[in-house]
């Protein structure tokens, strides 16, 4: 069969256009073969054991109180301008639309990396804006750094304050998903979409 340069160009244009459309629909070769849309860890991370203080001033034993649940662990702070509110909004929005047999198994635990400004009251009010079931924890910077290290994320670093005393805190942007086998096999970096959460949370809830 002879293919003229003009028809080859036309075919190339159609393929390019189709690629754009398919990319937009999330049908890509990369995501097609995987069970999870999050980033799968080559070496699973064990569910850590630590105790911090919740927003009611009560000790929260992470390992015991999240046992047999899918636990989404995230480090961040209230004044975070982008990553934290986007992650929490997307998780909360998706959870509202999932059946209880999935959401009933999911806990979202937010550990503040800025305990000096994130008082229990502020943390409680802020998390309630997303979902009242989200759990907020506070600890000393040393405690939080140790937990971050134990789950393999970079420790948070506070920036220099500006003239008004405001500062930003650099922190890990991924949500770590511990499943009921007490391990995290997948993490969700910034950029995870609501459609990705909706796809993965029911899968995570099935892991025993």
């Amino acid at each position: 069969m002879n293919i003229s340069p003009r028809s080859s160009l036309g075919t190339a244009c159609i393929l390019l256009f189709a690629t754009f459309i398919l990319a937009g629909c999330g049908i890509s070769a990369e995501s097609g073969g995987r069970a999870y849309r999050g980033a799968v860890l080559t070496k699973p991370v064990a569910r850590p054991s630590f105790t911090l203080t919740d927003t009611h001033g009560q000790p929260f034993d992470f390992r015991a109180q999240t046992d047999d649940t899918v636990t989404l662990l995230f480090f961040g702070y209230l004044n975070c301008p982008d990553v934290c509110p986007v992650h929490l909004t997307n998780i909360a929005t998706v959870m509202r639309g999932l059946p209880y047999d999935v959401t009933g198994k999911v806990r979202v635990v937010f550990v503040t990396t800025d305990p000096a400004r994130d008082t229990p009251e502020k943390l409680e009010a802020w998390l309630s804006n997303f979902d009242p079931s989200f759990i907020g924890l506070r600890g000393t910077p040393e405690q939080v750094k140790a937990i971050e290290k134990s789950v393999g994320v970079a420790p948070a670093v506070a920036g220099a304050p500006d003239s008004a005393g405001a500062y930003e805190v650099g922190h890990a942007a991924q949500v770590i998903a511990f499943t009921r086998d007490d391990s995290a096999h997948v993490v969700y970096p910034f950029g995870t979409r609501q459609a990705d959460w909706a796809h993965d949370l029911p899968l995570l809830a099935k892991v025993k």
Binding site: I21, G24, C25, D82, V86, N90, G97, F190, R193, Q194
Partner: protein
């Protein structure tokens, strides 16, 4: 001062602090200069039979102002990086409203003189304003530039965002030309065909708006992952975008079709 040539998504929190976009200013000044020249009555034309009325010329300047408002701060950066609803409003301004306003304000003698020369410009205009071509081009541009992969890719660069804005504006000019301007003369493209053309040419618009309204999740990563500007969630903002396209865009097209119909209805019919 932080200067960008053209608005693009920047992944930083929105602040109501003014930004300069020199590329937008150059484009708007160039458009304004071209429109000023083309809306002025043609020197040397004896009859001025095709001169635009004052109302039409003012309408054209409103079109220039709309283009400016759609591209410059705050509408430009909000639409490229933060809010799908503003993006939809930009589309309506650049592709649906400004082009016919500008075309209506142009002095007809200029166009007739240009086309009579039969140069390269005349040949291009004749070709791209052929109704079938213009309608297909407008539909393809509308659908492809709203595909999530295209939006998420183009909006991240200034050149990409510029290309998208330009595609909307140029395809809008081509689409509206056969409705607004009588030359090149197309005898079979009378008022009924124009109404049908407008209806058919905006069906993709209807599909697009329904898709945005009914989607289960935000379609565009760029808006879903952007820091929120309003109290609306990304999905609610997307639904506002779909609603704008459906209500404002749909009502607008329906109004134009109605005007064409009543004008045609009021025309004296040839005695037979």
């Amino acid at each position: 001062m932080n200067v960008q040539w053209w608005c693009s998504a920047r992944d930083i929190p929105w602040a109501w602090s003014w930004q300069a976009y020199p590329g937008v200013w150059i484009a708007v000044v160039a458009l304004g200069a071209a429109y000023a020249r083309w809306s002025r009555p043609l020197a040397g034309s004896a009859s001025h039979a095709f001169a635009a009325s004052t109302g039409r010329r003012v309408g054209g300047w409103i079109g220039v102002a709309l283009v400016w408002a759609a591209l410059d701060w705050p509408g430009g950066p909000l639409g490229t990086g933060y809010l799908a609803s503003v993006h939809a409003a930009q589309f309506l301004a650049l592709a649906m409203v400004a082009p016919p306003l500008l075309l209506r304000g142009i002095d007809g003698d200029h166009i007739r003189t240009l086309l009579a020369r039969n140069g390269v410009a005349a040949k291009i205009i004749t070709a791209v304003t052929t109704p079938l071509f213009a309608m297909l081009a407008f539909t393809i541009v509308m659908l492809s530039t709203h595909a999530p992969g295209v939006v998420d890719t183009l909006m991240r660069s200034q050149l990409g965002a510029f290309a998208l804005d330009l595609a909307w504006f140029l395809s809008g000019l081509a689409f509206w030309w056969p409705v607004v301007i009588d030359v090149p003369l197309r005898e079979r493209f009378g008022p009924p065909m124009r109404m049908l053309y407008l209806f058919a040419g905006t069906q993709a618009h209807l599909y697009l708006s329904m898709w945005l309204l009914l989607a289960e999740f935000p379609a565009y990563g760029i808006y879903e992952l952007a820091p929120r500007v309003t109290g609306l969630s990304a999905l609610e903002d997307q639904q506002v975008a779909g609603g704008l396209l459906l209500t404002i865009g749909g009502t607008y097209v329906l109004a134009v079709i109605s005007v064409l119909f009543f004008r045609w209805f009021a025309e004296p019919q040839p005695e037979g």
